[in-house]
């Protein structure tokens, strides 16, 4: 703390987040929200992708059309517009309740809307990623499962998902990294995530340049952690004699 105060007073580099308790706590809370937003959206978007791709493998036209429509909508519109659409568009339609002081409180707050919008956005890409994974599975493998008495659902679960998952992992890593960076858009509807709190901090202290550098380094580290974790996972799941490195 002393070091950073000295750095400010003598070096002209003002990193309030390291010596000012208030800024430090805002910053940590912003970091926490970014991480939570990312983790929940990552899990939700992957589950969404898996469910949607299961519908795509069904021989029914309507569920397939719904999934295609969903993917087209969320892949072909800007994520910032989607977040606005959810928060200002749909948000206005959601009923509000009243808090202890009688003030109106939205049943779905801005953080929830960011969760929903970003999960749907990343989920649309995951559908495409998993679909490519499933299409890469040779049909004869599916046939072998059928000849062993596996139902369509059991084949999907026990054969297609484990194989498609492995094929999809590199593309999924890319999309999750993209998702982590896209969480900054929650800023636009006032979710106090990392970018939002950093903006507050540099507005209060006029240390824009220092905070920009901090932001860059923090996102580099966060993305690095995700990239390394996904790469480890790829290595753990790697099958001898299966996949590209043949």
């Amino acid at each position: 703390m002393k070091f950073f105060r000295a750095l400010h007073e003598r070096g002209g580099i003002n990193l309030t987040i390291f010596y000012d308790p208030f800024d430090m706590s805002r910053f940590i809370h912003g970091l926490y929200l970014t991480v939570v937003l990312f983790l929940i959206c990552a899990v939700a978007s992957v589950l969404l992708g898996l469910f949607a791709v299961a519908f795509l493998t069904l021989p029914y036209r309507v569920p397939r059309a719904i999934v295609r429509g969903y993917v087209a909508f969320f892949r072909n519109t800007p994520p910032l517009v989607q977040i606005y659409f959810f928060y200002f568009g749909l948000g206005a339609l959601v009923p509000t309740s009243r808090n202890a002081y009688g003030l109106p409180v939205a049943m779905v707050n801005n953080f929830d809307w960011a969760l929903i919008a970003l999960s749907l956005y990343a989920g649309a890409f995951n559908v495409e990623i998993f679909r490519a994974g499933i299409e890469a599975i040779h049909h004869s493998i599916v046939e072998a499962a059928t000849a062993l008495g596996y139902s369509k659902a059991a084949t999907f679960l026990h054969v297609m998902v484990p194989l498609a998952w492995r094929i999809s992992l590199p593309a999924l890593s890319n999309n999750l990294i993209e998702l982590l960076k896209t969480t900054t858009l929650a800023y636009a509807i006032g979710v106090p995530e990392l970018l939002y709190v950093s903006n507050q901090i540099w507005s209060d202290n006029i240390n824009t340049f220092a905070m920009m550098n901090v932001l860059m380094v923090v996102y580099l580290l966060l993305v690095g952690v995700v990239a390394i974790a996904m790469h480890r996972w790829e290595r753990v799941l790697k099958l001898p004699g299966f996949g590209a490195a043949r």
């Binding site: 059928t146 062993l148 026990h158 299966f242």
Partner: protein, 244 residues
Amino acid sequence: MSDPFIKLHDVYKSFHDTPVLRGVSVDIAKGEVICIIGPSGSGKSTILRCINALTPVDQGFIQVGSIQVTSKNLDMVALCHCVGMVFQQYNLFPHRTVLQNVSMAPIQVLKQNKAEVTERARALLDKVKLGHRANAYPGELSGGQQQRVAIARALCMQPQAILFDEVTAALDPEMVGEVLTVIKQIANEGMTCVVVTHEMGFAREVADRIYFTDGGLIVESGPPDEFFANPADERTRSFLSKVL
């Protein structure tokens, strides 16, 4: 033959208006080993795939044991319990070990006791001389080894009959023998076997009866000695002169 175990009667099948089976009838007795030979594209695989319902027929009647394969409410699990299949490309599950490949269907599909199935799977792997590779992944095995695992996988379902579809066609020549030896052993133990093959020596040795297909029809059939010595049909003669 009084009571065939596998019975195809006047089976027709077309793919997009292209007739592939044009009235195929075959009766196979319990414990019988038949070989189907014929030119590429003559419908051999399709016959096998109709027997285990991988391909639905357009017309005709198929029965395996007491199971009516062509009936609307076919119990696929019962059929797969009754008839196993081994494919040209092995089709092992790359994400499961050799032992899991052999044991997973009896556990997951037939809901049999895991410990018992695993014990049976190990015994079958020993039988195909791959007990020492139980924990390897298919991708680590040679083609011949993978095909022997596929045979053990089919056997682990404890079927009454096994369909072999050109199971040595994708193998390097030096691995063909090890696979044929296993099939011979199974055939000698009394398993009903339907074998599509281009290995004429093998067909002559193990088959009780040989069927020759051409253009979606069974052109002729007979015991191997007769079949190879005096083929009746011109198409059979012409085919045999090319492959023998």
